[in-house]
Amino acid sequence: MTRVIEVPTHFDDRSFDQFAAGFGAWPPEEKLLVDARAAQWASPYGLIGLLTAGQAIAEAKGERPLLTVPTSDEVRRYWARIGFFRHAAELFELHGRVPKAAASGPSDVLLDVTPVRAMEDVHQVVEKISESASRILHGELGLERNAAMRFSMALSESCQNIVEHAGTGGWVAVQVYTFRRRLGRRVAVIAVSDAGVGFRRSLESTHAKRFGERWGDGAALEAALIQGVSRFRDPGRGQGLAGIKGFLDRWKGKISIRSGTARLSIVPAWDDDLPLADHLAFFPGAQVQITIPAQEAESR
């Protein structure tokens, strides 16, 4: 028997829960068909979440899932341009015409879909993005020149969390796009996802007792993002997320972290997301999205 999981038409951090619900129990026992034919748009968060699902199934020794590629030419080309199919081909049996990723002039893709497995990968990610980050964040989004450095710091710390806490590899992608639905402005988005143990299991041995019966995915996210705790005894740990929060506060940005069955967000005034969404469908590892909006003309 094959379980069909539909990729939402508009696939982003919000519709991700619908995608996650399609899997049922983890790891899924049935053969999976991930149907992306109807996809019209996917954020970097959606695309690396899709790869994370394939990775988690592979690591659980599950049968290689099928993936039907989007019907839309334009969508297929974008997925190829951001490097999705290159990695998806290793995790899914692809069905449908996959375009070659053609190199073309200036792009809104700041960082292709990139695997993060070791600290060396973090160095390479930061090196790769440094030049374009300055051009886009200052030139296009109207942030101060040194915001590019802070953006790269946020990227570096997010990627390091995979290597230090996930217990397996993960993915990162960075893109600029117009956020029509909720903001009506250009945004720069960092998306990071891994198929690892998740925040709850990572923090359980050191922090669960303190939370008592409240302990769960939501409490673990709260401990990490709001209280800045870490699984390490070293008192200097946990400052990466604190630093990211400071950067987001300054630029009216948003961070959203989904792990297990919960999603915790620091929600700026321009967004209407829930600060904490609990009892969601389970999804392996952790998924992080950092959104930096273009600055309004009066604040420039």
């Binding site: 600290m119 440094s130 570096s156 710390e157 200097g236 400052q239």
Partner: protein
């Protein structure tokens, strides 16, 4: 005597690569070990860490290099530590990690007065700036210059001395670069 340590050189030697970004904890820890080795071979009382040429300094590296170096100052032969060649975003990263540990360090600014990064009281900040302008001073000198009661100036100087942000010589305190 001041031992100047160029962090960019250490990074290139440590990573065996052309990277100019100080990112990840292992990189920071490796650079710190190099700094400690250099200080162990030096007789100088003051270490000047020069960050010129470094592009990005993330929080993990700020913690591993600067905070842990200062925390290690409780060891025998503690040094005075000064920073140079930092940009705004690097100031912020260092200030954050030091504040977390209730530590502070002085950073030299091109064409300006040194500034304190990290956690010190407002009085200690004022006293630090005043001492830099005076060139040296005791609690009485500071009290006169700032219009404070002497015990207040004494407390502020004591805090700066404890954080190794000024060099003591008898009752006098000196800014580090005048030492």
């Amino acid at each position: 005597m001041i031992e100047t340590i160029r962090i960019g050189h250490l990074l290139r030697e440590t990573a065996s690569s052309p990277y100019r970004n100080l990112v990840t904890r292992p990189t920071g820890a490796a650079v710190r070990v190099r700094i400690e080795d250099a200080l162990a071979r030096s007789d100088c009382l003051t270490a000047l860490l020069d960050f010129s040429g470094i592009e990005l300094l993330d929080f993990s590296c700020a913690e591993e290099i600067v905070a842990k170096l200062l925390l290690a100052q409780a060891l025998p032969q503690p040094r005075f530590v000064l920073l140079r060649g930092l940009r705004d975003d690097q100031h912020d990263a260092i200030a954050q990690v030091l504040t977390h540990h209730r530590l502070a360090v002085a950073a030299l600014i091109t064409g300006g007065e040194p500034m304190l990064l990290g956690w010190v009281s407002p009085d200690a900040r004022d006293a630090f700036a005043c001492l830099y302008r005076l060139g040296r001073g005791c609690a009485g000198d500071l009290a006169d210059a700032l219009g404070w009661p002497e015990p207040r100036a004494s407390d502020a100087l004591e805090a700066l001395t404890r954080h190794r942000l000024v060099r003591p010589e008898g009752a006098l305190r000196y800014p580090l670069l005048v030492a």
